[in-house]
Symmetry: C2
Amino acid sequence: MSRDIAQRHIIIPALGEIFRENGFAGTSLAEITYRTGLGKGSLYHFFPKGKKEMAEVVLDDVASWFEENVFLPLLECKNPKHGIQIMFKAVDDYFYSGERICLIGAFSLDDTRDQFASKLNSYFTSWNEALTSALKRNGLANKQAKDIAEDVVASIQGALVLARSQDNPKVFTRALKRLQRRIETSIHE
Amino acid sequence: MSRDIAQRHIIIPALGEIFRENGFAGTSLAEITYRTGLGKGSLYHFFPKGKKEMAEVVLDDVASWFEENVFLPLLECKNPKHGIQIMFKAVDDYFYSGERICLIGAFSLDDTRDQFASKLNSYFTSWNEALTSALKRNGLANKQAKDIAEDVVASIQGALVLARSQDNPKVFTRALKRLQRRIETSIHE
DNA sequence: AATATACTGTACCAATTGGTACAATTAAAC
DNA sequence: GTTTAATTGTACCAATTGGTACAGTATATT
């Protein structure tokens, strides 16, 4: 790994948090330099295309985290019920039990959305498909599996929004519990 | 009604759409003057405290729309099942069957959220309480009513986010149908 | 018709925006 | 230890940001 890319990777998480908290339009280079400790010189060395490239790299980073920790387990776990358990655990961890915002969600509602449309789209699509697959391998019919998957992904998003605006993370953890129960019962019918 | 206030009311819907599409940070006065056709002179005449006041007025406007068309029917409809029907119809109309973003949701994820915290909070709280009340009057136990209400409100939010990022309003209409069915069955148990 | 008030266009402001240029410094490779 | 490439700080840029000042023009009210 070249020095270049190594250094670049170090600041991606920091960039992620900044965008998460302020949205794309709401994040200024001034804040980025302040919070990363890097001057514009370094920033534009690592991300020659500027702010937009930073956001793209962050989105890719989020996507690959979910790919590895959520989608893949759902798709490949031998015991699909276990895969779903892993998903809920990973989601709870990732969002700090409701204290962390979903970057993808924030960008989806931002004026930014058109610029990053395909990345945002594929994040939710992948999640949906992976969960649908796991549900089907649990014996659910195609239609019902799709239905529940869409329901779960949407509810998680919504719960994050509500938790934030009510400043109450429990809204999120309650939602996760509810969804787990719903899946349980629909499988055991 | 003074001329002042009358004029002010005319542009509030336009302001709403602009904030909806761009978020708070993403909306510039330049765009506001362009899309409303009003110069800064007029704008600051109607909203002396500037952009922030415009957003506040818009949030109040949204809140009162929901108060009248969603919360009140839920709270006061003699047949509570009918009240819930009214809610779903109103929500579907308001969000143009999934083509329109939720301003409250957008602001909740924006860096703006702290400035408008109490308004955002009370919007979701009111909705939750009104729906809980209607469910209880349909014979559900307090705990279950609260549970379902939170679920419904969160799911609607999430479905709006998904519909937007997938550029597919049907995600939203599907979610509404699903939620209606869920309420139906939980009432008839 | 005169007066008061509501409204609006224009010019202006300091501060901040994202971005560039580049010389100076640091660190790795030979 | 010299060469080569990676990294960074500083100074700078034009454009845009939200906001102000105010004179001028409508529109009521009397």
